[in-house]
Amino acid sequence: MNMLRRNILKGASAASTLAIAAGLFGTGNAFAAYNSAAFSAKSVADALKGMGASAPTESKDIAIKAPEIAENGAVVPVEVTSKIAGTTSIAILAEKNPNPLVASFKLENGAEPYISVRIKMGQTAMIRAVVTAGGKTYTAAKEVKVTIGGCGG
């Protein structure tokens, strides 16, 4: 365990550790290639670019359910429902997190355009949902005020 820890500490950042881990373990299993470019992006624009969704269209058909005020940034429940026909993926971003992209979900074979997760937020920020439907990308955002951050010690 200590050896592992040393190795991990040597990594210049979480992103490079991730890349190494992906290289070691990423082959020969059922999981798709991890999009480390998008996840290690430090700005919303770069994250969107990494996802191949540079200029999403604002849409009122995406509903984001999240608390207006989150007392604990370590656990912020977020629900995203898309009413756009043919939704194939939903991504969630917390705009002011060190790495804004929180999660992305690919939906297929009858999965409804709905996702519910609990996320961490460093500070008050917009939660942005990015939906892909029929090759186009749509987006919506909702502000969540965080009184205690969930990142950092």
Partner: protein, 104 residues
Amino acid sequence: MAEPMKIRATMAGDIADIKVLMNHPMETGQRKDAKTGQLIPAHFISEVTATLNGKTVMEAEWSGAISKNPYLGFKVKGAKAGDKVTVAWKDNTGATNSADATVS
């Protein structure tokens, strides 16, 4: 490492409502150990896949910004009682876990 995962899948009309609770520390790699001041290495679930009767219905990629002991809810249309739901995850260290449940 492989702690049990809880899955509950219930039918509402023709849509299966699936809720999953996983056990994982979900370290972002940005938190410091309070005693040593050293960064705690990143350790989080990076990939999650869900299948219904062997057919993939959802594939997710996560960062460390998903909360500790992650909760995931999703819905699948056209499922029926008795169908088998399997959820598997892999974390950034290569550890994996999976569990299944029957839709009721």
